[in-house]
Symmetry: C2
Subunit: 262 residues, 2 copies
Amino acid sequence: MKVDQLSQVRQEIRSGRWQRPTAGLTPGRVQANLVVLPKRLAYDFLLFCVRNPKPCPLIEVTDPGSPVPRKTAPGADLRTDVPRYRIYRHGEWVKEVSDIRPYWTEDAVAFLLGCSFTFESILLEQNIPVRHIEEEKNVPMYRTAIPCEPAGAFQGNLVVSMRPLASRDVIRSIEITSRYPQVHGAPVHVGDPQEIGINDLSRPDYGDAVTVRPGETPVFWACGVTPQAVAAASRPEWMITHAPGHMMITDMKQEDLVGING
Amino acid sequence: MKVDQLSQVRQEIRSGRWQRPTAGLTPGRVQANLVVLPKRLAYDFLLFCVRNPKPCPLIEVTDPGSPVPRKTAPGADLRTDVPRYRIYRHGEWVKEVSDIRPYWTEDAVAFLLGCSFTFESILLEQNIPVRHIEEEKNVPMYRTAIPCEPAGAFQGNLVVSMRPLASRDVIRSIEITSRYPQVHGAPVHVGDPQEIGINDLSRPDYGDAVTVRPGETPVFWACGVTPQAVAAASRPEWMITHAPGHMMITDMKQEDLVGING
């Protein structure tokens, strides 16, 4: 089955027939991380995102109780249109489901945050190879010693993703990604991992290790795992997120991201 | 008296000796609009800003009760370091003061929003003349027919400022300001005022009319009056803002704005 039409893909996901990762689905559409929290925590979390735009680039915030992302996917329902969700209680992951209608509340606020799938597809279009895609692995992610700006209940250190690049691609990748602040923007660090508190590139905290070839420089981008990790650490009564790799596909096209925040 | 040192200017303002507009003070430092609201309205207002980044570019949001903008002016006190403030009750302006310590509350949240003084000084540095500065007037501002994205209690139409430019400067001004999303970014409209609901350029809703010469194109930018007007229209129990033109001068330099959100 060829599923390249947005409405068709969304219907497959909504019906529960597609419960696999979304990488490569509907090329060119912006995919997003999902975090759902009760309204009483929404101010602190929103402020955390505003204060930490690199790990937490806000794509959209829904009105309390409404599962409709009016701006980026007005025909969608955030309770059914993500392939897999994770339910957390007091910060502990308790369940993975494909439909969160039974868990949705009248005070639920959904946050859609930019995701690196989008900037990776832009890098590939510009002929910059992405190692973990070449090696068919998950991107390596690391906890750093860089503290995020805290906001109310939410605090913690930045998580980064790493892509090793040849020197000529380091500069180009910075130029390109700096134009896309809504999907993590420019890197946060280039070069020596120890400078940001990473001791061993071959032992990532999340995802898989990838080959770093002689002469390549590791380039580190702020990672969307940060807000989920920070939110879970505050042990909220309940929280719902997408399952890793199972993103919300919005109607928005990659090219709409340029200048969106300007 | 030559006051070009930030600490000296801040002391002058703090002591109440400087109660005049801040245009031209401490060249190169980012100046900001101020809106202070009670915590219970802060979520809706923060979300309004996030949903409407062009009129409401967030520079900083303080922790509830703290008058210190930790990120952009860690040594400052927002209760004394703005030359003139306006106190509003239920949306009505009741008083103008130079010290808001008597009005500050434990649940006060201060929002610093980007201000067009900064992008005007960047335009001037690039030899793009700014008409209202040439004519020693206040910038002309207009209510438009463009609705902002509402958020909870806050809704209303966009207010824009207008600068007439020669054709060669129109493109350059868009290129330049689009690099500064934190101070309103790229224009929202170029050309026919009626397209955005403005019937008569010679009758601005705020500020002064300026000369539009033959062959010039009016260029419209989102304006920081928008959030104040929208906040007042929701008639909050209390609200404090800066008095027009009497801005908060931050420690941040203009050049720090490039890439701040990326």
